[in-house]
């Protein structure tokens, strides 16, 4: 029978009881959205696919003890966590390589967390300062006030497309300023 219209809650309950069809339906429902989100952050098809794969395997293995209210929220959150883990691993690996390349230059280790936060904040402020006025206004509404593109379009009475354009521009500028905080391969991708 066609189960694709079953609610998320019903699917999760069924998965808890070992229903593989429900598992499949849930996969079909969210895999594309999850894949896209992961790809946008990692830029590697294989990595994005592996992240999606791992999350579903995890979900299945923990099906009996999971208590998931909002399964979509849970899945997208899992993507974020795994993207962060991946990036962290990349940075660690890169550092390791670099450390050996420079024969154990110690200077890098002197910076503490506090400095790191200052540096990151500086970089973010620099990025914001570099934005054109309109872009900055929209970026602030979007990131700091957490307004969606729709809401901003309504508030400023401009087309949503325009809002999205400005957000894209803003992120591009931010990325440039934050390049010290991105793994090298990500930086290389943009230069």
């Amino acid at each position: 029978m066609n189960r694709s219209q079953e609610s998320d809650v019903a699917l999760v309950t069924a998965i808890g009881k070992g229903d593989r069809l429900a598992f499949r339906v849930l996969y079909e429902r969210y895999q594309e959205e999850m894949y896209r989100l992961a790809l946008r952050k990692t830029y590697e098809k294989e990595v994005a696919e592996e992240i999606v794969q791992d999350i579903f395997v995890d979900l299945w293995e923990n099906r009996e003890r999971m208590a998931i209210g909002q399964v979509r929220h849970y899945l997208l959150r899992s993507i974020r966590n795994r993207v962060l883990d991946y990036i962290r691993a990349q940075i660690v690996r890169q550092n390791y390589a670099k450390q050996y390349a420079t024969n154990g230059e110690e200077a890098a280790h002197l910076t503490d967390d506090w400095m790191a936060l200052c540096d990151l904040n500086d970089a973010i402020q620099t990025g914001i300062a570099e934005m054109p006025d309109k872009t900055r206004e929209i970026f602030k509404l979007n990131r700091l006030d957490q307004l969606s593109a729709d809401e901003i379009a309504g508030t400023l009475r401009i087309p949503k497309r325009t809002v999205e354009y400005h957000i894209t521009v803003a992120l591009r500028i931010m990325r440039k300023c934050l390049k010290d905080f991105l793994p090298l391969w990500l930086v290389a991708y943009f230069l």
Partner: protein, 338 residues
């Protein structure tokens, strides 16, 4: 100076990952995480990419409770090989002329029956997957995937078929034959009538006679995504319609479904793209008629209803997809819209 902040930054990253950042750190890290976004990334994937990912998930979660079609097949294959060896000792010529391995394989059937109360997934030797609903039974020749990929089904099942252009995948079920190359579809059976619903790809459905051979007189229908064919015994004709809940085959942003004085042509193109269903019109002129409608969040049938009723037209569904009949540009052309 790149990544000089690394050690401190890694600690921040760890805290952020665990949700232990304070407000200032979280805000900075959120901005950083947003900036990772690459809006220009190319999302295009191969058509079976998500199925391959699923295949790996299935493999990794396969575990013990699942019957593995592959294992049955392999053990059968081992027996067949043993028979071949015996035959080889018995007589070399016999082997050449009779091909006992083939004969042995052909005489064997692999059967999966779901006697449990829950759906059960079966893997076929070609790595297609079949989810059997309770009470469903699937059988196939042990030689499956060598020359043919034919299975017999009783009951209800969902198929995700691995693409193979050379060997079509054929399902015989409740008086109908469904033929595909690689796609996803469901076959269900109720009170003797059978139904095929297509999730993606293209399938061909044909009515069988009592001997299980395709009826010469009966039409073949080809279904694409979101179409279904229903067969009632005693009738040659397959009835084609839209599935109850058409699923979008291409992701579409919701805002794109608001039309303001757009020609029908554009609306049709968008729906065709979103659902993978072909939409034709009887009257070609109607394609230029302006349509103003908000179709966001509606299922395909309602979307078609809204559009056609605005144009005084009707729609029907056949195996080619949707046909919009009659109609014209509406009683109030050029009515100003706010």
């Amino acid at each position: 100076m790149a990544l000089n902040a690394t050690d401190g930054f890694l600690k921040m990253l760890s805290r952020f990952r665990k949700g232990q950042s304070d407000a200032a750190e979280r805000e900075a890290m959120e901005a950083w995480y947003d900036a990772l976004d690459n809006p220009d990334v190319d999302f295009a994937r191969e058509s079976d990419a998500s199925n391959k990912v699923w295949a790996r998930i299935h493999e990794r979660t396969g575990g013990n409770p699942l019957p593995k079609a592959g294992n049955n097949f392999r053990s059968f294959y081992r027996i067949a090989a043993a028979i071949l060896l015996v035959c080889g000792l018995a007589g070399f010529y016999f082997m050449i002329y009779k091909k006992p391995a083939e004969t042995a394989a052909v005489s064997g059937q692999v059967m999966h029956e779901n006697n449990t109360a829950a759906a059960r997934e079966v893997r076929l030797p070609d790595s297609s997957s079949v989810v059997l609903q309770p009470g469903a039974r699937l059988s196939y020749d042990a030689g499956f995937n060598r020359v043919t990929r034919t299975v017999n089904l009783k009951g209800n099942a969902f198929f995700a078929v691995t693409r193979n252009e050379v060997i079509p995948f054929i399902v015989n079920a409740s008086g109908i034959r469904t033929r595909v190359l690689g796609t996803e579809f469901t076959i269900s059976e109720r009170n003797g009538s059978a139904q095929v619903e297509v999730l993606s790809g293209k399938v061909q459905v044909q009515v069988l006679d009592q001997n299980g051979k395709p009826k010469a007189s009966a039409e073949k229908v080809v279904l694409t995504a979101n179409l279904k064919a229903t067969y009632r015994p005693g009738r040659d004709a397959l009835v084609v319609g839209l599935v109850d809940e058409p699923q979008k085959t291409a992701p579409e942003s919701k805002s794109l479904l608001i039309f303001n004085d757009k020609p029908l042509k554009e609306v049709v193109a968008l729906l065709e793209h979103a659902y993978g269903v072909e939409i034709r019109t009887e009257n070609a002129d109607i394609m230029g008629c302006p349509v103003t409608a908000d179709l966001s969040g509606e299922p395909l049938a309602s979307q078609l209803e809204i559009v056609t009723s605005a144009l005084n037209a009707q729609f029907t569904v056949d195996q080619q997809g949707v046909l919009i009949r009659g109609g014209g540009c509406g009683p109030l052309p050029g009515t100003p819209h706010p």
